[in-house]
C-alpha cells in the first residue's frame, strides 16, 4: 500500500442547526485520483472547505494530517502554502482580466517590488500548455472563453501555485461531454506527473472512468472507501452506498403516452441580441403538447438558454421576430410576469446567479413568484406562506431544519429543489427546466425525474433543456436538437440515440 498524502481524522463540523460532518475519516493516497461522492448535503463541499482552510482551524474538531504532519490552517493561503489547491464549483476567475493576470492573481511574479509582466506572460503560456490549451493566447480576457476552457484555466492557476494536492468540487458540472473528457484526460496526465487529485462529482460515469479510489459520504458520515484496483467500484454499488437503497432504473418509467393539444408553440422564432450585436436564434419552430416532456439537446452555447429567456418574457431584451402561441392564443410577453400569468414557468440554469435569492430563506424564495396567492386585501398572510413553503419542503424532500433556513446555506441539490418548488407554486401549465439536474446527486435526480413524471401525468407540459444526453434520452417524449441557434433536428424518443443527437448537435 502506498503512503497517504492526506488523512483527515474524526472531522466534525456543525452549523447552527445542522451537523454537516459527523466524525468523518478520509484518507487519500499519494499520486491517486480520489473521487468523493455522496448525496446533496452529504457534506462533501464542507469537508473540502475544512481541508482548505475556508473553515479555519478551531471551527471544526478533528485532525488534518498532511504528509504525516498535523496541520492547522487558518486561511486558504495557509493551505495553499502546504501545497493544497481547491477549485470551487463556482468559478473564481475575474472575467474582465486576462488569462495571465488571472493565473497569477494573488501570487504575482515580481522583479523587486514590481510585477514582472513579461515573465508572467511567459510562465502563463507554459501553464496553458500544461493544461492542454495550446491555442489560447495568454492575453485573452477570461470572459471571451467558454466555461470548459475557464475550468482548465482554473487548473492552470492551481498548477502555477505548485500544487501537490488538487481538489476539484464538481469541475465538470457545467461542462459538455467534450470539455469533460479533456478535463479528465488532464487529470490523468497530472497524475502521471505526481499530482494527487480529489474530485467531487455527481456524474458517476466519469467517477468510474477515472477514480482509483471512491469514498462515499452520507449524512455527514463516511460510508465506505472503494478501490478500483480491487475491482470494488461499480455504478450500482456507489448508488447503493450513496442513497442507502438500490435504484434499478434512474429514469423512472412513465405509462401514459396520449398527449393532448399543443400547449405552447413557437414559429419562425428569431432573436437578435443588441448587447453582443448578432442574431442568436434563427427561425426556430417547435411545440409541446399537454402532458408531454420535450427535451432540448445541444452543446453548451447552442442558444438553448437564450431560447428559454426569449420565450419567458424576454428579460434580456433581445429583439424578437416570430410567433408564440400559448394554449392556442398568440402571445407577446413583455416581461416574465406576462409569461407567468399565461402559465409558463422557467427554472433557471444558474440557480445562484439568477434563480434564487441566496440571502433570503426557503419560504421567501418559494413564494416570491406568486405572492398574490398569499394575500388577502393586499395583506400578506405570513402563516399561509410558511404553510405553503412547508408543503413544498415536504413534498420535494428539501433537507433543511426549517423553511426559515437561508437558501445560501443549503447544498446544491436542495437549492435546486427550492427553485423547483418556487415554480411549482405558481401552478404553471408549461414548465421550462434549464439543466434541471445540474450538480444534483443520483438520489435527488431520481426524485426530480419521478416528480416530472407525476407532473406530466397531471397534465403539465415540460420543456427540458439539458446537456446530459442520458437524461435527455431517458426522460423525453420528443427531442429537439439545437445547434448554433437553429433547430438541427427533431427525434422521437424511439428513434433517438446518443450518436444521432451528437451528430446533429455538432453539425
Amino acid at each position: 500500500m502506498n503512503e497517504n498524502i492526506l488523512e483527515m481524522k474524526n472531522i466534525t463540523k456543525t452549523f447552527p442547526g445542522v451537523k454537516a460532518l459527523d466524525d468523518v475519516n478520509f484518507q487519500v493516497e499519494k499520486g491517486e485520483i480520489h473521487c468523493l461522492v455522496g448525496e446533496n448535503g452529504a457534506g462533501k463541499s464542507t469537508l473540502m472547505k475544512v481541508l482548505s482552510g475556508v473553515y479555519p482551524y478551531g471551527e471544526y474538531s478533528g485532525d488534518i494530517v498532511l504528509n504525516g504532519e498535523i496541520q492547522k490552517f487558518y486561511s486558504i493561503s495557509d493551505s495553499e502554502r502546504a501545497g493544497i489547491a481547491i477549485i470551487y464549483q463556482e468559478l473564481a476567475l475575474i472575467p474582465e482580466l486576462s488569462v495571465y493576470e488571472n493565473i497569477f492573481l494573488g501570487h504575482e511574479i515580481k522583479k523587486g517590488k514590481l510585477i514582472d509582466w513579461n515573465e508572467t506572460i511567459k510562465q502563463a503560456g507554459a501553464m496553458l500548455k500544461k493544461v492542454g490549451l495550446h491555442n489560447v493566447n495568454p492575453a485573452t480576457k477570461i470572459k471571451d472563453l467558454g466555461v470548459g476552457k475557464q475550468q482548465l484555466i482554473e487548473i492552470a492557476k492551481a498548477l502555477s501555485k505548485n500544487v501537490k494536492l488538487l481538489i476539484l468540487d464538481e469541475p465538470t458540472a457545467a461542462l459538455n461531454e467534450g470539455d469533460s473528457e479533456n478535463l479528465l484526460k488532464l487529470l490523468r496526465e497530472l497524475k502521471a506527473q505526481g499530482v494527487t487529485s480529489v474530485m467531487i462529482s455527481h456524474k458517476l460515469k466519469e467517477v468510474i472512468a477515472i477514480a482509483d479510489t471512491v469514498t462515499v459520504l452520507r449524512d455527514g458520515q463516511t460510508i465506505c472507501s472503494m478501490s478500483a484496483e480491487r475491482g470494488e467500484i461499480s455504478e450500482s454499488i456507489i448508488i447503493k452506498h450513496m442513497v442507502g437503497r438500490e435504484i434499478d432504473n434512474i429514469f423512472p418509467k412513465r405509462n401514459h403516452k396520449d398527449f393532448g393539444d399543443i400547449v405552447l408553440e413557437v414559429k419562425n422564432w428569431c432573436a437578435y441580441d443588441p448587447k453582443i450585436g448578432r442574431d442568436i436564434l434563427h427561425n426556430l419552430d417547435f411545440n409541446v403538447r399537454k402532458g408531454e416532456i420535450i427535451g432540448i439537446a445541444g452543446l453548451m452555447g447552442a442558444g438553448r438558454t437564450e431560447l428559454a429567456h426569449s420565450i419567458f418574457g424576454n428579460p434580456g431584451e433581445y429583439r424578437i421576430k416570430g410567433d408564440l402561441f400559448v394554449m392556442g392564443q398568440k402571445k407577446h410577453f413583455k416581461s416574465p410576469n406576462d409569461a407567468i400569468k399565461a402559465g409558463v414557468a422557467y427554472v433557471t440554469e444558474d440557480r445562484k446567479g439568477n434563480g434564487l435569492i441566496l440571502i433570503d430563506d426557503i419560504k421567501q424564495n418559494i413564494t416570491i413568484a406568486n405572492l398574490k396567492q398569499l394575500t388577502q386585501q393586499g395583506i400578506l398572510n405570513r402563516n399561509e406562506e410558511v404553510k405553503a413553503a412547508n408543503y413544498y419542503k415536504e413534498s420535494l424532500n428539501i433537507k433543511a431544519p426549517s423553511v426559515e433556513q437561508k437558501v445560501g446555506n443549503l447544498s446544491g441539490g436542495n437549492q435546486q429543489k427550492v427553485s423547483l418548488g418556487k415554480w411549482l407554486f405558481v401552478k404553471p401549465n408549461v414548465l421550462i427546466l434549464d439543466e434541471p439536474t445540474r450538480g444534483i446527486d443520483v438520489g435527488a435526480k431520481f426524485e426530480i425525474y419521478t416528480l416530472m413524471n407525476k407532473l406530466v401525468e397531471q397534465g403539465l407540459s415540460i420543456i427540458m433543456i439539458s446537456s446530459e444526453l442520458p437524461e435527455v434520452l431517458g426522460m423525453s417524449d420528443r427531442i429537439y436538437v439545437v445547434s448554433e441557434g437553429k433547430i438541427a433536428g427533431e427525434l422521437t424518443a424511439e428513434e433517438a440515440t446518443q450518436e444521432k443527437i451528437m451528430e446533429m448537435a455538432t453539425n
Partner: protein, 391 residues
C-alpha cells in the same frame, strides 16, 4: 425548555436587533449618569425626539433605497429646497397650510420619479444621478432664497408641525393626559395584535413563544411604551412631529412586512436578476422607491422648516449623510436586500442621542464628529460579525 434557554435562543436569533436596542439603552444610561439625570429628563427627551424627526423620516426612505442597492445623495437639498418652496407658498401666495403640504409632497414625489427615471430608463448609476440632484437642488435652494435670504414663516399652524404639541383634554398639573391616554391605547393595540398573531399561529400549529416568554415580552414592550409616554407627558406631551414620524413608520413598516410590494423590494435588493425572472418589474420597484424617498425628503423639509419657523439658504446640508448613517447603524446591509425600517429609526435615535448627550456634556464638536464616526463603524462591524451567526 427553560425560560432562560428560550431567552438565549431568542437573543441569538435576533442579536443584531436586540444589540441595537441594548446599545441605545447603554448610551442613554451613560449620558444620564454623566449629566446627573438631565439627559433623561422629560424636557430633554421630548427635545431629542423632536430634533430627530426630520432625519428619522429620511432614514425610513433611505432604508428602502439602500435595500434595493442604490443610494440617494440628493435628499438633503431636496428637503431644503422643498422646505423653501413651502415657505414661499405660505408667505407669498397665501396657499392654505394643508394645500401647501400636499403640493410640496407631490413635488417631492415628482422629483423622485424623475431621479428614478434617470436611474432605470437612462441607466445612470444612482450615485451619479443623485449627486447631480444634490448639486441641482442646492442651486435651486439658493435661487429661490436669493432675493430674500432667510424666509420667516409667520403661520402658526404650519410651525406647529415642527414645534407644537397635541392639545390636552383634561388639565391635570404636570401631566399631559391625552398623551398618557394615547400611550395606553397604543399598549392596548400592541397587546391585542400580539394575541391575534399568536392565536393565528396556533391555528396553523406553528411554534410560538412559551407562555412565560410571551408574557414577559408583552410586559416588557408595554413598559417601554408606558415609560416613554409617561416621560413625554411630564413635559408638553406628544409633539406633532412625533405623530408624523409614528405614522410614517407604521405605514412603511406595514408596507415592508405585509405587502407584496414590500417583498418585491427585498427581492430586488437580494438578487435583481432572480427578481426579474420571478416576474417582478425591477424598474417599477426602483421608481416607486425613489419617488417615496423624495416624497419623504419633502416631508423632512416641511418638518425642518416648521421647526426653524423659516427657510434658510443652507437648510438640508448633510441631511443625506445623517440618514445614510442612521440606516447603516440600524442594520441595513451595505450589500443590499437586508434592513428594517424600525431598525433605521432606532439608528437615527442612537446617532441623535449621541449628539444630544455630548452637547449636554459640553463635548467639543471636533470630538463629537470623531465619536459619531467611530460608532458608525462599530455598529457595522457588529452587524457584519453577527451576520454569519444568524441563519
Amino acid at each position: 425548555m427553560g425560560v432562560i434557554n428560550e431567552a438565549k435562543k431568542l437573543m441569538k436569533q435576533n442579536i443584531r436587533e436586540y444589540g441595537m436596542y441594548i446599545a441605545l439603552v447603554v448610551i442613554m444610561l451613560t449620558f444620564s449618569v454623566a449629566t446627573d439625570g438631565l439627559f433623561m429628563s422629560s424636557r430633554n427627551i421630548s427635545n431629542l425626539i423632536n430634533q430627530t424627526g426630520y432625519i428619522a423620516v429620511l432614514a425610513v426612505g433611505m432604508t428602502l433605497i439602500l435595500i434595493i442597492r442604490h443610494i440617494d445623495l440628493s435628499v438633503g437639498f431636496v428637503a431644503g429646497f422643498l422646505g423653501a418652496v413651502a415657505a414661499i407658498l405660505l408667505t407669498k401666495t397665501g396657499v392654505p397650510v394643508w394645500a401647501t403640504i400636499v403640493i410640496v409632497l407631490a413635488c417631492g414625489a415628482l422629483i423622485g420619479s424623475f431621479i428614478g427615471f434617470l436611474v432605470t430608463k437612462m441607466g445612470i448609476p444612482s450615485f451619479v444621478a443623485t449627486l447631480a440632484g444634490m448639486l441641482v437642488f442646492r442651486g435651486a435652494l439658493l435661487r429661490v432664497t436669493s432675493g430674500t435670504g432667510t424666509i420667516i414663516i409667520p403661520n402658526k399652524s404650519f410651525n406647529a408641525i415642527g414645534n407644537g404639541f397635541i392639545p390636552d383634554i383634561a388639565h391635570i398639573e404636570g401631566i399631559h393626559t391625552l398623551t398618557l391616554l394615547l400611550g395606553v391605547i397604543a399598549i392596548g393595540f400592541y397587546i391585542w395584535g400580539e394575541f391575534n398573531n399568536r392565536k393565528n399561529k396556533l391555528t396553523y400549529n406553528f411554534e410560538v413563544l412559551s407562555n412565560t416568554m410571551f408574557t414577559l415580552k408583552l410586559l416588557f414592550v408595554s413598559l417601554v411604551i408606558g415609560y416613554i409616554t409617561w416621560t413625554l407627558s411630564g413635559y408638553n406631551g406628544l409633539s406633532w412631529t412625533v405623530i408624523v414620524v409614528i405614522i410614517v413608520v407604521l405605514i412603511y413598516n406595514f408596507i415592508t412586512n405585509k405587502t407584496v410590494l414590500g417583498r418585491h423590494i427585498y427581492a430586488v435588493g437580494g438578487n435583481p436578476d432572480a427578481a426579474k425572472l420571478s416576474g417582478i418589474n425591477v424598474n417599477r420597484i426602483t421608481l416607486i422607491v425613489f419617488s417615496s424617498m423624495s416624497m419623504l425628503a419633502a416631508l423632512s423639509g416641511i418638518l425642518f422648516t416648521a421647526r426653524l419657523q423659516s427657510a434658510t439658504t443652507t437648510a438640508g446640508t448633510l441631511f443625506e449623510l445623517d440618514a445614510i448613517a442612521a440606516a447603516y447603524v440600524g442594520g441595513v446591509s451595505a450589500a443590499g436586500g437586508v434592513g428594517k425600517v424600525t431598525g433605521s429609526i432606532i439608528g437615527a435615535f442612537v446617532m441623535a442621542s449621541l449628539v444630544n448627550g455630548m452637547n449636554l456634556m459640553g463635548v467639543d464638536i471636533s470630538y463629537q464628529y470623531i465619536i459619531r464616526g467611530a460608532v458608525l463603524v462599530a455598529a457595522v462591524i457588529f452587524d457584519v460579525k453577527t451576520r454569519n451567526k444568524r441563519s
